[in-house]
C-alpha cells in the first residue's frame, strides 16, 4: 500500500494539468448525440470547458430516471411515468391568440396532440380557472376556449403570458422524456431534458436513489459536495472516454477534488481556484494584477512564500521535489 502512495513533494498539480491539457489539444470539435433527445448535449472540448467552468446552467442538461425495482423492466410503465413527468405548459398544446378589440383570448387546443399527452380540454379549462380565479369569463366550444377579460391592453398582455405558461402537468424543467433501453442491464430508464431533482424526489414510482443528472451543480445542491465531486469526475471521464483519450483517473480526481476543495464546486480560473489562491504574488501573477496587489495592501497581507509561483518570482528554489528537503547542520 505504501508503495502506491505518491512521493512527498511530487508536483501532482502540474503533472495533472499537463496530462489533461496535452490530450485536450487533440480533442476534436466534433460532438456526438445522445439517443432520444433532440437537443444536443455538447461533448468534447466545449463540454469540458463547461465542466471546468462549473456553469450553473449548462448548455443542455439531462436527467436519467430509473423506476422502482418492480417497474424497472416494464417498458409500458416507463412510458407512462415518462408521460407523467414531462412538463407540459398550456402553450405547448394550445395556440393562444389575443383579440384586443373584443378583449378576449382565443385558445385553440390541439386536441390530437393533447390526447397523446393525456390532457383534455376540460383539464385545461380547470387549470385556467385555478390560475385566473374569477378575473375572467370562460366560454368553450369543442376545442375552442374563449376567455373574456375586462382589462386594459397592458393587463391583457400580462394575462396572455400568464395563461401561456400555465403548467398543465409534469415536473417543471423536465422536457422531452423518452424511454431508453439499457442493453447491459436489461432495464429501461427515462431520459429527460432539463433537471429538477427537488420535484423528482416526490415523483411517483421513481427510484430516487438512482436518479442521475449531468448537471453537476444540481447534484451538489441536493446530495452534497462529495456527490458533486463524483459527478464531476464521472462527467469529465465520460468526455475523455468519448473522445477516445486515455487519461489516468487520478489526474481527473485531483482536478475534481481541487474544484470541490472549498465545499462547493468552483470553476478553475479567475473567479474560482486561481482567483482564490492564498498567495498574493501567485494571484497577481495570474490575472488582474493590480486589483490583487491593491487589495492585499489594504489588508496588509503577508505572503509566506510557500507556493511554487511565488518562489520563482522572487528567485528562490521551489519547495517541491528536490527543493522539498533541507539540510540542517549538526551542532
Amino acid at each position: 500500500m505504501g508503495k502506491k502512495l505518491i512521493d512527498s513533494g511530487e508536483a501532482v498539480g502540474i503533472i495533472a494539468a499537463q496530462s489533461l491539457g496535452e490530450p485536450g489539444t487533440q480533442m476534436t470539435m466534433r460532438t456526438f448525440h445522445y439517443a432520444g433527445v433532440a437537443e444536443q448535449v455538447p461533448t468534447g472540448l466545449p463540454r469540458l470547458i463547461e465542466l471546468v467552468d462549473a456553469r450553473r446552467e449548462p448548455t443542455q442538461s439531462l436527467t436519467d430516471i430509473y423506476l422502482e425495482d418492480e417497474f424497472v423492466k416494464d417498458k409500458k410503465k416507463n412510458e407512462e411515468v415518462a408521460a407523467a413527468l414531462e412538463h407540459v405548459s398550456l402553450s405547448d398544446v394550445c395556440a393562444v391568440t389575443e383579440n384586443f378589440a373584443k378583449k378576449e383570448l382565443r385558445i385553440k387546443v390541439d386536441t390530437k396532440f393533447a390526447q397523446t399527452k393525456g390532457i383534455t380540454v376540460r383539464d385545461i379549462i380547470n387549470k385556467i380557472k385555478e390560475v385566473l380565479g374569477k378575473s375572467g369569463k370562460i366560454k368553450s366550444k369543442n376545442d375552442q376556449i374563449l376567455l373574456h377579460i375586462n382589462a386594459t391592453y397592458q393587463k391583457l398582455r400580462r394575462i396572455t403570458m400568464k395563461v401561456k405558461s400555465i403548467p398543465l402537468k409534469g415536473i417543471k424543467g423536465l422536457s422531452k422524456a423518452t424511454v431508453v433501453y439499457n442493453e447491459k442491464t436489461g432495464e429501461y430508464f427515462i431520459r429527460a431534458g432539463g433537471y429538477n431533482l427537488h420535484d423528482l424526489k416526490k415523483a411517483e414510482h421513481v427510484n430516487f436513489s438512482r436518479v442521475y443528472t449531468n448537471n453537476v451543480r444540481e447534484i451538489e445542491k441536493h446530495f452534497g459536495i462529495e456527490a458533486g465531486r463524483n459527478a464531476l469526475l464521472k462527467e469529465i471521464r465520460q468526455v475523455m472516454d468519448l473522445q477516445g483519450l486515455t487519461v489516468d483517473v487520478r489526474h481527473i480526481m485531483l482536478l475534481a477534488d481541487a474544484m470541490c476543495s472549498r465545499g462547493m464546486i468552483e470553476p478553475v480560473g479567475r473567479h474560482g481556484l486561481s482567483g482564490r489562491k492564498s498567495s498574493v504574488l501567485a494571484r497577481a501573477a495570474f490575472e488582474e494584477t493590480v486589483k490583487h496587489l491593491v487589495n492585499a495592501s489594504i489588508e496588509g497581507e503577508e505572503d509566506p512564500l510557500n507556493g511554487v509561483t511565488e518562489n520563482i518570482i522572487i528567485g528562490q528554489t521551489v519547495k517541491l521535489g528536490t527543493g522539498k528537503v533541507r539540510l540542517i547542520m549538526r551542532q
Binding site: 513533494g9 511530487e10 508536483a11 502540474i14 503533472i15 494539468a17 499537463q18 493590480v290 496587489l293 491593491v294 492585499a296 495592501s297 503577508e302 511554487v308 520563482i312 518570482i313 522572487i314 528567485g315 528562490q316 528554489t317 521551489v318 519547495k319 517541491l320 521535489g321 528536490t322 527543493g323 522539498k324 533541507r326 539540510l327 540542517i328
Partner: protein, 618 residues
C-alpha cells in the same frame, strides 16, 4: 420587396431586376436578361470595356456589374452555337505573329470572366469534344486551373492539393539565376546558384514562361531508400562527391550600406579610419583592412565583427559648454561591421550619392555556400528535406551501371503525403536522361505512366524504375530493389550557415537585465512558461532556479532588516543604509532583477512592499 414580388405574376418577377454597378445601386431594368445580353455583346464588340463583368442569377432580381480592381479574372474562348470562335486560322496567324492576344480580345474571340460571371452566366466546356449548343465558353487549356507556379510542376494532377500549395511556396524560395546582371546589382541579400539546369521533366508552360532562361534547380539522381537512419523524418543524404563537383552550390551576396549623414547644427558623419581617441574605438585589428578613405578593399576576407566601413559620427547629445572655450569634440565611433555569422569576401564596393546628396557607400559581401548538413532541399512536389549527412560516394549504393545517387530520400516521405507526381517525375527523368529529350509532364495532358514504363523497358531498365543496388560499404547486393530515378531538386534559401547561432554569455536587456532575444542581438533562447512547468513537474527545483535566476537576471539586493525596503550603498561613506527608515542593518539578498522591478512598480502604485527576512533555509 417580398410583398411587391408576391403581388406580381411570376413571369414579371423573373424579368425585373435591380442593377448595381460596383455594388452601388444604379436603378431598375424591366428585362434583366435582355440587359445582360446587351451588355455582354457590347463588351465583345468593344463598345464597353473588356474589364466589365456582369452577373445575374435568373429570378434573383439583381444584376451586378463589376469593373473594380482586385477581382480575379480568367480568359475563355467564346463559344457560339456550339462552335468556338477561335479557329485554326487564328492559331496559324498567332504562330506567324500576325495576330496578338489583345487582338483576340478586341475581336471578341476571347474574353475574361470574373468568378461571379463565370458562376452565374457562363457555361464552360472543358474540352472541344464536349461542346454543345448550351455552352457559352470553352476553356483554353485544362491545366490553366492552376496558377503560374503550379503550371510549371510536372504531374501536378497526381499530387494532393496541399502538397502543391506547399510546393509552390517552396519554389519561391529556391535558388537559381534570379537575374543575369547580378554582378552589377546591390541587392541587400541575393543567392545565385552555380550551374542551374533546366528540368528534364517539363510542362508546356515552362518554356512559355521563359523559365528555361533562368532555371532554379538541378536534376538529381535520387534513390528512394533508407540510409543508416541519416534520412529519417524528411532528412536527405547527399553525395559528398557530387557536392564537390558543385552540385547545389551557390553564392550568397549581402550588401552593407551607409551614408555620410548630416545632422542639425551643421555636423556631419565622416567616413574614415577611426582613431583611438574616438569614443567607442574598437580593436585596431578590426580596422586593418580599411583603405585610407575608411572603406574596405575588395577581395578581402571578412569575419563577423570586422569593420567594413569606418564611420565617425558627432555625439548623440549636445556637448555641455566647455570650461575653457575650446571644445574638443567627442566624436563617436559608428562603423558598419559584419554581423554575426557573416564570413566571406568583399565582392565589390560602390560609391555613390544618396537622394539627400550625401556620400553613399555600399559594400557587397560574397560568400560561397556549399551544401552542408542542415541545408534545405525540395523537389517540386512539396517534398522538402534537410541534409542529414554528406556521404562519401564510395559509401553510397550503386547500380550495376555504376550510377550512384546524388540524393537519398526516405520512402516514408511518400505514402502518407500521396505525392505520386514525385515518383512519376523520377520515372520521367530517367526516361529523359536515357533518351536525351525532355519529358512532358503537363497537367492532364502529360506523357502517361505506361508510355514512360515502356520506354524505360526499351532502354533495358526495369520498367518500374527499380534497380538492384550494391551496398557501397560491403559491396553486397541490397536485398530489396531500389526505386531510383532522376528528379529536379531545388536548393532553398534556408541555409544553416546564415541561421546558426549560439550563446553562452552575451548582452542583456537594459530594462530587465535579462538576456536579449534574437540572433541579431546575440540573444538567448527563451525558456518559457511551459518549459518552466515541465521543470516544476520534474521537481527539479535547483534547475529552475539556475535557469530562471542564475542564468538570467540574478542580482544582490540590499534589504533593510528593520523596515523591509530595498537599501542603497553609499560609496562615499562606504556603508549600506536604508533610505526609508535610515537604518543601517542591511542584509544582502539574492533576487531576480525582475522582482526588484516588480517591487518598484508596486511602489509606484502607492503600495509599500516589505520584505521580511528570515534565516537562510527556514
Amino acid at each position: 420587396m417580398m410583398t411587391t414580388h408576391k403581388e406580381k405574376s411570376p413571369k414579371e418577377k423573373t424579368k425585373r431586376a435591380v442593377v448595381y454597378l460596383n455594388g452601388l445601386y444604379m436603378g431598375f431594368h424591366d428585362n434583366a436578361e435582355e440587359l445582360v445580353r446587351e451588355i455582354i455583346s457590347k463588351r465583345r464588340s468593344g463598345e464597353l470595356t473588356p474589364n466589365l463583368n456582369v452577373s445575374y442569377q435568373a429570378g434573383s432580381g439583381e444584376i451586378h456589374l463589376n469593373t473594380s480592381g482586385g477581382r480575379i479574372r480568367r480568359p475563355y474562348i467564346i463559344v457560339k452555337n456550339g462552335k468556338p470562335l477561335l479557329t485554326k486560322e487564328h492559331i496559324d496567324k498567332l504562330k506567324a505573329n500576325e495576330l496578338s492576344w489583345n487582338d483576340l480580345i478586341a475581336k471578341g474571340i476571347i474574353e475574361y470572366l470574373d468568378a461571379e460571371e463565370e458562376g452565374t452566366l457562363a457555361h464552360v466546356a472543358t474540352t472541344e469534344e464536349e461542346l454543345t449548343s448550351e455552352h457559352t465558353h470553352l476553356e483554353i487549356d485544362n491545366s490553366s486551373i492552376t496558377g503560374v507556379i503550379v503550371s510549371t510542376f510536372p504531374y501536378p494532377d497526381h499530387n494532393s492539393s496541399p502538397r502543391l500549395t506547399m510546393a509552390s511556396s517552396m519554389m519561391k524560395q529556391s535558388l537559381g539565376l534570379y537575374s543575369v546582371n547580378f554582378n552589377y546589382r546591390q541587392d541587400s541579400r541575393a543567392h545565385v546558384q552555380f550551374y542551374p539546369q533546366v528540368p528534364l521533366v517539363q510542362t508546356s508552360s515552362y518554356k512559355a514562361l521563359n523559365f528555361d532562361k533562368r532555371p532554379a534547380g538541378q536534376n538529381f539522381v535520387v534513390a528512394v531508400m533508407s540510409y543508416y537512419g541519416y534520412n529519417m523524418s524528411d532528412a536527405v543524404v547527399l553525395n559528398k562527391n557530387s557536392i564537390d563537383r558543385a552540385l547545389g552550390r551557390s553564392v550568397f551576396y549581402k550588401t552593407y550600406e551607409t551614408e555620410e549623414r548630416r545632422y542639425p547644427g551643421g555636423q556631419k558623419d565622416k567616413l574614415m579610419v577611426p582613431t583611438p581617441n574616438i569614443v567607442g574605438y574598437r580593436e585596431e585589428e578590426l580596422y586593418k583592412n580599411l583603405d585610407e578613405d575608411g572603406i574596405i578593399m575588395p577581395e578581402v576576407s571578412i569575419k563577423p565583427r570586422d569593420v567594413l566601413i569606418g564611420k565617425v559620427s558627432p555625439p548623440r547629445f549636445m556637448e555641455e559648454v566647455a570650461t575653457f572655450g575650446i571644445t574638443e569634440e567627442k566624436r563617436r565611433e559608428n562603423s558598419i561591421t559584419a554581423k554575426g555569422g557573416d564570413y566571406g569576401t568583399v565582392d565589390s564596393v560602390m560609391l555613390s550619392e544618396s537622394l539627400a546628396g550625401n556620400k553613399l557607400v555600399k559594400v557587397k559581401l560574397r560568400s560561397l555556400k556549399i551544401p552542408e548538413v542542415g541545408d534545405k532541399f525540395a523537389s517540386r512536389h512539396g517534398q522538402k528535406g534537410v541534409v542529414g549527412y554528406l556521404c562519401p560516394q564510395e559509401d553510397l549504393p550503386f547500380t550495376k551501371d555504376g550510377i550512384v545517387p546524388d540524393l537519398i530520400i526516405n520512402p516514408h516521405a511518400i505514402p502518407s503525403r500521396t505525392t505520386a507526381g514525385h515518383i512519376l517525375e523520377m520515372l520521367g527523368g530517367k526516361v529523359a536522361s536515357m533518351s536525351g529529350r525532355t519529358v512532358n509532364g503537363t497537367m492532364f495532358s502529360g506523357e502517361k505512366e505506361d508510355d514512360l514504363r515502356a520506354e524505360l523497358k526499351k532502354y533495358g531498365f526495369n520498367e518500374a524504375g527499380e534497380e538492384e543496388l550494391y551496398d557501397g560499404i560491403t559491396g553486397e547486393k541490397l536485398k530489396a530493389k531500389i526505386f531510383i530515378g532522376v528528379i529536379y531538386y531545388q536548393r532553398l534559401h534556408h541555409l544553416v550557415s546564415n541561421k546558426m547561432h549560439v550563446r553562452s554569455r552575451g548582452p542583456v536587456q537594459l530594462l530587465t537585465h535579462q538576456p536579449t532575444e534574437g540572433k541579431a542581438r546575440e540573444g538567448g533562447l527563451r525558456f518559457g512558461e511551459m518549459e518552466r512547468d515541465c521543470l516544476i513537474g520534474y521537481g527539479a527545483s535547483q534547475l529552475i532556479k539556475e535557469r530562471l535566476l542564475e542564468e538570467s537576471d540574478k542580482m544582490i539586493a540590499l534589504v533593510c532588516a528593520n523596515c523591509g525596503s530595498l537599501g542603497v550603498h553609499d560609496y562615499v561613506k562606504r556603508r549600506d543604509y536604508c533610505p526609508v527608515c535610515k537604518g543601517t542593518r542591511m542584509e544582502k539578498i539574492e533576487m531576480s532583477y525582475a522582482f526588484k522591478l516588480l517591487l518598484d512598480e508596486i511602489k509606484s502604485l502607492g503600495i509599500f512592499p516589505r520584505l521580511k527576512i528570515g534565516e537562510k533555509g527556514k
